[in-house]
């Protein structure tokens, strides 16, 4: 027994060392970066198959020609030249595509600014004023209420509220504040922005809340101890630390609004131009290459906006 134990003891360091090297060798074969790729693999494949490859097709088709009933797979810049038709000739007036993008960007900016303002304060309230986790969860779920009904129902529901004979107008007339119904409550830029804000503030709340909840409370205490006012704490501590959430929320809202044509169509009475609407009209007329060209233009512009935003805040670093 003694000898065998001795032998075992003598041998064990080797054995242990041996298994160490084996494990090390295995780990070397499964290098960390390989494992990362493996983990990201399924999602990457999904993006590749259902997003990047179709996107490549969109770009290819955007350079094809077409007639009334089919795509003609021959190189043609017609989709693009038609889109920018009159852009130089009509100067200083804006051409169709110019006006459309001015309108789209205008709506986008308004929706972004308002959702950011509302979203920031909702997230602030949830993160710093609501103490219990249960309440935080419950209240953030409340923010999803607009998503409980279908898109169409949600938008049709605005007519009885904002319409000429709707609740708001009849209320205002009854109180004597106005004599005639306010027309711009519905089918206007106002109603488009209102509906978009109503829909997408949630996309701002979640990432900002997520950033705020991770702010170390001792930092705020330290700021307080150092004599900072509430406003100073907000500007110098909370906002900088919530920046990644702000940027991510902004990317969500901006990309969605840039591509939207359904909400803008229904709430704008189909009379407000939007980049997405041009694409829709083209697709409905079976002019796929022209639609694809417009999609590529929209993509480039949206990508530029996002690149600019990630220049301001390096999300990669902040996360």
């Amino acid at each position: 027994m003694d000898t065998s134990e001795n032998i075992l003891q003598q041998a064990s360091p080797d054995l242990v060392r041996g298994s160490d090297t084996a494990r090390a060798a295995k780990a070397a074969r499964w290098s960390p970066s390989f494992i990362s790729w493996l983990q990201a693999g399924p999602m990457m494949l999904v993006f590749l198959a259902f997003f990047l490859i179709p996107l490549v097709f969109v770009v290819i088709v955007s350079f094809w020609d077409y007639n009334e009933y089919q795509l003609l797979p021959a190189f043609s810049g017609r989709g693009y030249t038609d889109t920018f038709e009159g852009c130089i000739a009509q100067l200083p007036d804006l051409c169709t595509i110019g006006r459309t993008y001015v309108m789209t960007l205008k709506l986008c900016f308004m929706v972004w600014a308002i959702t950011l303002f509302i979203g920031f304060w909702v997230a602030y309230f949830l993160a710093f004023h609501v103490k219990s986790k249960t309440w935080q969860m419950g209240l953030s779920l409340l923010c999803t209420i607009p998503f409980w009904t279908s898109n169409v129902i949600r938008m049709i529901a605005w007519i009885p509220l904002l319409g000429r004979n709707g609740l708001v107008n009849s209320g205002l007339i009854k109180t004597g504040l106005i004599n005639h119904p306010i027309e711009w409550l519905l089918f206007s830029e106002f109603s488009v922005v209102l509906a978009l804000v109503h829909l997408f503030t949630f996309f701002m709340v979640v990432p900002i809340f997520n950033s705020m909840i991770r702010i170390d409370k001792s930092l705020i205490e330290a700021a307080y101890d150092a004599g900072a006012t509430g406003f100073q704490t907000l500007v110098n501590v909370i906002i900088p630390l919530a920046k990644p959430g702000i940027v991510i929320g902004s990317i969500f809202v901006i990309t969605i609004v840039m591509g939207d044509f359904i909400t803008i169509g229904v709430m704008g009475g189909q009379q407000i131009a939007a980049a997405g609407k041009i694409i829709e009209t083209r697709v409905n007329a079976l002019q796929f290459p022209a639609a694809a060209a417009n999609a590529v233009i929209l993509l480039i512009i949206t990508f530029l906006i996002i690149t600019m935003m990630s220049r301001i805040v390096d999300i990669k670093k902040e996360l």
Partner: protein, 429 residues
């Protein structure tokens, strides 16, 4: 393992971040639409692609009872139906579509013309389709894509429309109607008799048209002619100059705030009218009936310049052959045999074979819907709900008066591409 996960994730994360932005863009466009799941055939099943006009559970139920053919509806908007014929011709068997889309569909070669000799009631189809005149002999306006211009093909596999009758029929006619402006007489409070009223500044912010460019521009053309500004050779096939002129009129009206909203969907048009958001707009007959059945006065106003008409019918996908093709003929023959025709007539549309539909309707119903006589009894919808009380008269009167008053037909123009570009310009103005 756990140590390594976070360290080298940068490349992965960059990739995800980049694509996530793009994915958000795609999601926001709302372009992700699902097609209904379609079961493959075992018994006598036909996949039926069409707009909601001709479809109804009552029709498919009765068809199953009479013929043993099970109809599976694939419902889409007019534009989407055409899109699907072009891009997925094997996803349906029977196609129910409008004549004006034939200019796109026929050259694509994705549909099969049906043989007129196999359609029992073909000779009884109303002369509206075959001769361009009413049964009473009134000549019908032929501007636009009138059905008789595109009814026949030169040969079985031809992509050319024949100028005279052949046995190869592009679409076997089923349903059609004469469209005009719907108005709210209680809010307008004076008679309306011309298309020019659509752009009358009196109705500023209370007018609407269809948000389908090719149809919207024809409504605008009716207005332009009514005001005497211009007379088109063919409102359904404008030259570039004519498109410019029409769009200019529309743009001026839009900038002045004439239009409250454009509508695309049946229910949208009903909502706009019922809520009083609009008081004058282009509309469909059953939509007017729907508003009225809500207890709100609404008139499908006949106008002196005439109606803008549309028509639709059946053909089959080019992939259909053998037994399935025989079922398709059986189904089309059943559709024209009366039950479906009566069902459509009771909604305010017109059926292609009048004699069989008449046999399936009560005499008082026929008198109200087709002869323009005051209703002897209450008029009920196919589902039994009350549409009109006894004594009511159909707007526009009889079939002869309404179809005889047609001025033009829904159309696809030769300059369609230019027109679509101008439409986008009009929206951006």
């Amino acid at each position: 393992m756990s140590k390594t996960t976070g360290t080298k994730g940068v490349s992965r994360r960059t990739l995800l971040k980049g694509t996530a932005g793009l994915a958000g863009l795609a999601a926001g466009s709302g372009a992700i639409t699902g097609f209904p799941y379609v079961k493959s055939a075992d018994a006598k099943v036909l996949r039926y692609l069409g707009t909601a006009v001709n479809e109804g559970d009552d029709i498919s139920r009765q068809c199953l009872k009479d013929t043993g053919i099970k109809i599976e509806y694939i419902t889409a908007t007019t534009d989407d139906v055409t899109k699907r014929v072009m891009t997925q011709p094997n996803s349906f068997d029977v196609l129910d579509t409008e004549y004006f889309s034939l200019k796109k569909i026929v050259p694509s070669g994705n549909i099969l013309a049906l043989d007129a000799r196999k359609i029992k009631e073909f000779d009884n189809i109303t002369p509206v389709f075959t001769k361009g005149e009413t049964p009473g002999g009134k000549k019908i306006g032929g501007q636009g894509t009138a059905p008789w211009k595109v009814l026949y093909l030169e040969g079985k596999d031809s992509k050319k429309f024949a100028t005279s009758a052949t046995e190869f029929v592009t679409l076997i006619p089923t349903v059609y109607n004469a469209d005009t402006l719907g108005i709210r007489p209680d809010l307008i409070k004076r008679p309306i008799s011309t298309w020019a009223e659509l752009l009358n500044p009196e109705f500023k912010g209370k007018a609407s048209i269809l948000n389908i460019p090719s149809i919207g521009i024809m409504d605008a053309a009716m207005v332009v002619e009514a005001t005497g500004k211009y007379k088109y050779a063919d409102k359904g096939n404008m030259t570039k100059e004519e498109i410019d002129l029409t769009m200019k009129v529309m743009t001026e009206a839009k900038k002045a705030g004439q239009f409250r909203a454009f509508w695309k969907d049946f229910n949208e048009s009903v909502n706009l009218m019922a809520s009083g958001e609009t008081v004058i707009q282009s509309m469909w007959s059953p939509a007017v009936t729907k508003v009225r059945s809500m207890g709100i006065p609404c008139t499908f106003q006949p106008l002196k310049e005439g109606y803008r008409s549309w028509a639709s019918g059946f053909c089959v996908s080019k992939g259909v052959s053998g037994a399935k093709l025989e079922w398709a003929y059986e189904f089309v023959n059943w559709f024209l045999s009366g039950y479906a025709g009566a069902y459509l007539n009771r909604q305010g549309y017109y059926s292609a074979v009048l004699s069989t539909a008449k046999a399936h309707m009560e005499p008082y119903e026929w008198a109200y819907w087709m002869e323009g006589k005051p209703a002897e009894k209450d008029i009920k919808a196919p589902d039994g709900s009350l549409l009109e009380k006894a004594g009511a008269v159909r707007d526009g009167g009889s079939y002869e008066d309404r179809m005889g008053g047609v001025a033009c037909w829904n159309a696809v123009m030769d300059e369609n591409d230019y027109m679509v570009r101008k439409w986008n310009e009009f929206i951006a103005a």
